[in-house]
Symmetry: C3
Subunit: 374 residues, 3 copies
Amino acid sequence: MIPLWADNARRKADINNYPRRGSVKAEDGMFLKNCWYLAAWADELQPGAMLARQIAGEHVLFMRGEDDGVSALADLCPHRFVPLSMGRYEEGRVTCAYHGLRFDGHGKCIHNPHGPISAALSVRSYPFVERHAALWLWLGEAELADPALITDLTFIDETAPEARVKGRLHSQADYRVMVDNIMDLTHADYLHASTLGGGINTIAKADVEQDGGAITITWTAEDEVVPPMMRGFTGHADGVGDFLNRIAWHAPSIMVQDVNVGSTGSLKSGRWNQTARGCHVMTPETETSTHYFFMNCNSSTKAHPETAPMVRAALVDAFSNEDAPISIAQTQRIAGRDFWSLRPAMLPSDKGAVLVRRALDRMIADEAQRLVAA
Amino acid sequence: MIPLWADNARRKADINNYPRRGSVKAEDGMFLKNCWYLAAWADELQPGAMLARQIAGEHVLFMRGEDDGVSALADLCPHRFVPLSMGRYEEGRVTCAYHGLRFDGHGKCIHNPHGPISAALSVRSYPFVERHAALWLWLGEAELADPALITDLTFIDETAPEARVKGRLHSQADYRVMVDNIMDLTHADYLHASTLGGGINTIAKADVEQDGGAITITWTAEDEVVPPMMRGFTGHADGVGDFLNRIAWHAPSIMVQDVNVGSTGSLKSGRWNQTARGCHVMTPETETSTHYFFMNCNSSTKAHPETAPMVRAALVDAFSNEDAPISIAQTQRIAGRDFWSLRPAMLPSDKGAVLVRRALDRMIADEAQRLVAA
Amino acid sequence: MIPLWADNARRKADINNYPRRGSVKAEDGMFLKNCWYLAAWADELQPGAMLARQIAGEHVLFMRGEDDGVSALADLCPHRFVPLSMGRYEEGRVTCAYHGLRFDGHGKCIHNPHGPISAALSVRSYPFVERHAALWLWLGEAELADPALITDLTFIDETAPEARVKGRLHSQADYRVMVDNIMDLTHADYLHASTLGGGINTIAKADVEQDGGAITITWTAEDEVVPPMMRGFTGHADGVGDFLNRIAWHAPSIMVQDVNVGSTGSLKSGRWNQTARGCHVMTPETETSTHYFFMNCNSSTKAHPETAPMVRAALVDAFSNEDAPISIAQTQRIAGRDFWSLRPAMLPSDKGAVLVRRALDRMIADEAQRLVAA
């Protein structure tokens, strides 16, 4: 008699051997695992519905019960590797389409029509938090998943939903190239010349600070022509005024942005005609594709929520038709090679982006070493 | 003078070094070679015609003369590697489109417009048998190609062609995943609930036997509700009756099926209202694609051949729209990795499928060792 | 403080480490670098325009100023690897779309809006010559780029533009397979039977000569039926006459062709009714794709330039619909493996093609050794 179940004991012992399960080899070493990923906007997952999404190479299934409870499981039946997302979701439980195994929101098998429920019959469950109108996912070691580590996006909660300018775009680009793009906004003067550029981003004084995990770059300019889209906020017909633009990066790829515009003197006084806080979150899907989550909450759309769709359209146009082709072309030219091995020429304006790349590289390397040692 | 033909002697010596010729590296170790593959239904190859098909990674050209003689050659001119199927077939001979080399059905060069016919100018010929309305191909060592090893499908010959429910489907799935699917028919209760399922496959008693090369699994149930499509055969309006479903696997991926349905008591008496014998043959095309040949010969279509197209349509619907998406998704999730390394959870219902996978793995490993030793 | 510019010194030192920059690993060892590639017909690049083209794996940007000056740069900004071809070309300078870096035709950075212009901010410039109505590119060591090494195609200059039968075709085929195709024109009898074939290419006497770098094969036939398209030039209704067809290969993949047709006795007298000189240039794009540049200058179209489009159409038809499918199929069957490792059977008619393959293999191997030694 061949012991059919011999593998089960070994399987159970390894169930927490998380980096291998549900991930693919090629992606190892490219993504941070012990961190919170913004996986979806909360309203992408409706009550009683499932959402299947690949995050940093892992196939994840999000489910929201009718009672609003959310869970995140590996999107993979442990029996024959069918995506659970092909099955049926009812009353907080998902039933595999293939052989009827049923799992609860913790990944525990609660129905096996074919025999006893063994410990091997469990699906990996991911630490998961709903906060700031978003769903946050932890891919790494569960015991390290501290919700206090989630990037503070309280500005979202403080903005009425109808005043939020929000979206998710998908791009066939390396997420790190897309982080570079935000960490060096001087590109707006060339790539978005008629909307977000105009020259001021290059003229502005740039200050870079590293504080704990965050890396912040602040561009300031006084008595200069601000970007075309913001000229109305200076109070001058010629668009001359003060300007402050700040990006604060948080690992792995979450960037909070403040843009303030006002008449000349605003920077010194700290009183602005227009303030905006938003975020750009580049959540990797695979090695060469990214979910780009953006949010913009500004004083104008707060005052006039009916203008939010128009602002959203302008941002989507810039991201999709100006940024995305560049990021995709960069990803194709880098072609999977190590970025540094290609010896990019350095400009002073790269300081923020370079510090971020180095910080992220170091975190990923540290994590890999930790896992090898463990 | 450079000896242009220096390679020819070496080439001749290696002409029987079959695993390399016409195959691609990536596929080594995944397919059994010393076995009969069902390569086509016989009527796919008309008199005077050619049929090019990839079988287990090898490009094969089937030709049928006007006199009905069939041959199978490597679909590759030995001169400059043009597929012979791009050429012309006349009077049992194929002429390469590129330089006019002509080969007979044994792969022997019978015309070279450019010089003498050397031994190097021969195309590999595969052992080949037409039997049971099918074309059978042997990819391995010719001296081992014993037609007695062809799986017995006499039931086909015993059924009038118009009563046969027959087809070939192509799927972007690993053939082993498709074998698993047939070896565990409990899936019908979940995936084909309204036609072939309904619960009885899971309720049924399953007996697995290993007899020589064959692995047989038999599901039996007495006085139970049979699958929806078969309820009319119980003689009871509520569909309650006896049910026997048997799958017999033969290497590499040929499964003969018997399905019997009758009123309660049929299992004990051995007298059934409806009997069906068929086969499911999963012939690998590449590592991730499969030719699925199916045949169903049952007492109803024998009595009423005009119903055969309707039965065929129902089977094609189940295979294409219910099974295939699952098999394809499994193949994508396995992503070329070794199935066992992923540690599938085991259910008692997997016994047949697991025994088959282990038998096949062992045969492939034994064959690889044999070749290394030789 | 992290030294952001630490890499720049090292980058500068390596700026002439050409094989790595802008090329991709997979292509190493497959292409000759120290040679002139025909990269485009001159009229493909209009004054004030750019042309982006991949040559032997390298992305190259050709630019022609309003003053007709042409330059060739790596199509890659050294800053963040955006293709320069996505930017703007004005007054002989290209401005990167992403951050506004501007480069002149020598690849020298002439404008950096973000700081000083360091030596690292330069784009590789390729040696480049416009000659014989074509643009010639040198991918290797600049100091070896001697224009005297460009294959002599003076026959183009001697033909009025309107009498030239010229084109560029793109094919998903290995360039070496496409060279083989021209070096053995016996294939015309089978693949182009009704136009360029008819049997004479196989019947003809073939003489192969190796003279310095060139390898020449000459087919001659006397008092035979010439190819269908040329029968009118024999002066006999039955198309019988003399025929001379010569191909001279020059590294890496430039073949000059002479085709002469006349009445019987022409070969001895050297007086022909119809003479044609042309070239077939197979410039590799990637490992599996090729730019095929062809030119045909013959006595008929010189006399009647209005017939040039018709001759062109006939050639394009033969190349695209007869040659290309064969070359593509060969490339797919070779599947990236070494040609010789597949042990092609040799025919006497392969002599020219085999000598060329061996010469090219040797040149590539010598170049690789030279680079390792350097």
